[in-house]
């Protein structure tokens, strides 16, 4: 399925210190609706690249169009809103707000953003949370504090929160690296299922190439990024 472009990065130059660029991307394009596997060794600038795509970081030059919006021309709050409304994000671990229950964590995007609220399938946010949590097999934990959950369960809650209100783009930053092999494939299955349901583009970052064949498209970070700095300096970039 090939459709409009979900992500288009062109001639991006970024440095935490503007005089010392740590990341250059001449071109990165992701078609809407695709499952994209982005791989590269740690320190290759994965998290920096994701920061640019989500609009948390602003490149010094270049164009970054995500879901139809040119992020470099938007104000910081506008980028934040765009991210919250249109993107779901899953970290490697500790995805959840520790003082909220499973239900409260999953409902958060809908409470913060009207657009996410409008795109739910069930009749109410609460019902939608219950639907998703049940879908991910966590219904018995729905009102538990998230600290009582295992890492695998926490990652599943993170999926639910990332896809609630059907965002157009789901970004997962090494979401399986804290899981053992069994849990890993179970996690991948669930992630694919709910992303398909939400019709979201999936950008999946990992250094674990064994997961690669399940994706439509594979991108090597080393191919799309060229750093101006030598590799030793790149390694010092906060990962």
């Amino acid at each position: 399925m090939s459709g409009p472009t979900a992500i288009l990065l062109e001639n991006i130059v970024f440095g935490y210190n503007p005089r010392k660029p740590v990341l250059r991307v001449s071109k990165l394009a992701v078609q809407a609706g695709k499952r994209v596997f982005l791989y590269g060794p740690s320190g290759s600038g994965k998290t920096t690249l994701l920061g640019i795509i989500t609009g948390v970081l602003k490149p010094q030059s270049g164009a970054c169009t995500v879901l139809g919006k040119e992020m470099t021309k938007m104000s910081a709050p506008a980028r934040d809103r765009h991210r919250g409304e249109e993107m779901g994000y899953i970290f490697q671990s500790f995805n959840l707000i520790p003082y909220l229950t499973v239900r409260q964590n999953v409902a958060l995007p809908c409470q913060i953003h009207k657009r996410r609220r409008q795109h739910i399938v069930a009749r109410s946010v609460n019902k939608e949370v219950e639907r998703l949590v049940t879908r991910l097999g966590l219904e018995s934990h729905i009102d538990h504090n998230v600290k009582k959950l295992s890492t695998g369960q926490q990652q599943r809650v993170a999926i639910a929160r990332a896809v609630i209100g059907r965002p157009s783009l789901v970004i997962a930053d090494e979401p399986t690296s804290a899981l053992d092999t069994d849990r890993r494939s179970e996690f991948m299955d669930l992630l694919f299922e709910v992303c398909d349901e939400a019709q979201a583009t999936l950008v999946f970052v990992s250094h674990d190439r064994s997961l690669m064949e399940r994706f439509d498209e594979h991108l090597a970070l080393t191919d799309i990024t060229q750093a101006s700095a030598p590799i030793t300096e790149l390694n010092q970039v906060p990962a």
Binding site: G51, A76, D80
Partner: protein, 416 residues
């Protein structure tokens, strides 16, 4: 709204430190408000005790002691005044009424006040309230007494009870055992020192001390049955209250009494003397308020420490909130809200505590020290305290909030 809920839930998850912080702020607010309210409550209580009296007259001496013993039954009269002088001013053309008061005896810690019918007719408190007899009647005979409501309540006395009065105040071993008094009346509750006194007639006071010389009893006290009003001559009283026919003449009359040739007297205007009392006490008030203020600073610093030390553990939380689309400014707001919530809760709790305390200590203070303490509403000063506490809390919240804001900017999605 979401931010407020987050702030609330975040605080609740750190129940222990949050609770301690709120408690320490509440405690300091309680002190601040408590000091102020007790000050105000005492003022209202004192001012409400006496109304419509233009002058209080006693023997030559300090105006504050005169007011305190004559009206509030605190301390003792150093000298008596002659009944002749009293009669002179009672019949003065500018005077509307007078209430003679003679004190010096007690019964189980309660003052005995000898007076006459004028007290029941003319004494006024809190505007236009007068002393009412709840049970029985006014004392008329020599050995009759009326009890203030607190006296009757605490000693479980009833009409017809025989009581023995002691010479001087509590603990005196000189008892007027030969002359027991009969309770013929119980006065209605007034929430003034009247409740804590026993009222007898001027004749009764004189009869008690029949045959006494220079403060020492006679070898054999005259038994009650042998004393008759006709044998008694009222020679002295302790003080008297006075109302002028026209307020305009108060100052002239005061001057006339103060320069009375026949006897050295002091006349005071009660409201002015009370003002003096508040001036004296205001130093203590300031000192206490400063201490409470220092406690408040400590409370707020405890909050700052608690919020600041939690910051490192919360970097991850901030990164998550960022991915959910919160701006750095909203992160900033979250932290400000937390400190504001803590200080607001502390302030509210402290305020409630202060009033609970005021309510609780009211009766003991009145009973123990005879200080009338009125329940008073909020004041501008309390309002300022509340605003200051919440404002300072919010302002202090800037310190962790700025740090969180910078963390959010620097960390991006990286924290963990």
């Amino acid at each position: 709204m979401t931010i407020l809920r987050l702030a609330f839930q975040s605080l609740r998850s750190r129940m222990f430190t949050t609770g301690l912080t709120i408690f320490s702020i509440a405690l300091s607010v309680l002190l601040l408000v408590g000091v102020d309210r007790i000050r105000r409550g005492t003022q209202v209580g004192f001012e409400g005790t006496l109304s419509q009296t233009d002058l209080v007259v006693g023997a030559r001496g300090g105006s504050l002691p005169l007011l305190l013993y004559a009206v509030f039954h605190i301390g003792t009269a150093n000298n008596d005044i002659s009944y002749a002088s009293y009669e002179h001013f009672a019949n003065h053309p500018a005077v509307l009424w007078t209430i003679p008061l003679s004190m010096g005896d007690s019964h189980r810690g309660f003052r005995v006040v000898a007076t006459d019918d004028n007290f029941y007719e003319h004494y006024r408190y809190r505007g236009d309230h007068s002393v009412q007899v709840a049970e029985g009647r006014r004392p008329e005979g020599i050995f009759e007494a009326a009890l203030g409501s607190t006296v009757a309540e605490q000693l479980h006395y009833h009409l017809g009870q025989q009581i023995i009065l002691s010479h001087g105040l509590e603990g005196s071993f000189l008892k007027h055992t030969a002359d027991p008094y009969t309770v013929v009346g119980i006065l209605a509750h007034t929430a003034t020192p009247v409740d804590r006194a026993i009222y007898i007639t001027l004749w009764g006071d004189e009869a008690m001390h029949l045959g006494w010389q220079n403060g020492a009893p006679p070898l054999v006290e005259t038994p009650e049955s042998q004393i008759h009003k006709s044998d008694l001559h009222i020679k002295t009283i302790s003080a008297f209250l006075l109302r002028t026919k026209s307020r305009m003449s108060t100052l002239f009359l005061q001057r006339e009494i103060n320069t009375y040739k026949a006897e050295p007297l002091t006349a005071i205007i009660p409201a002015f003397t009370l003002e003096d009392l508040w001036t004296v006490l205001s130093a203590a008030d300031v000192a206490l308020s400063l201490v409470s203020g220092a406690v408040l600073v400590v409370g707020l610093l405890v909050m700052l420490t608690a919020l600041y030390t939690a910051l490192n553990e919360r970097r991850r939380e901030i990164a998550i909130l960022r991915t959910l689309g919160l701006h750095v400014r909203q992160i900033f707001g979250l932290f400000i809200l937390e400190s504001t919530l803590i200080s607001a809760l502390g302030a509210a709790l402290g305020l409630a505590g202060a009033y609970a305390l005021l309510f609780a200590v009211r009766n003991p203070v009145e009973n123990q020290y005879g200080i009338p303490l009125a329940m008073v509403g909020l004041s501008a000063r309390v309002g300022y305290y509340m605003i200051a506490v919440v404002g300072a809390g919010a302002l202090l919240g800037f310190i962790p909030a700025i740090r969180a804001y910078r963390n959010a900017l620097v960390d991006g999605l990286n924290a963990g």
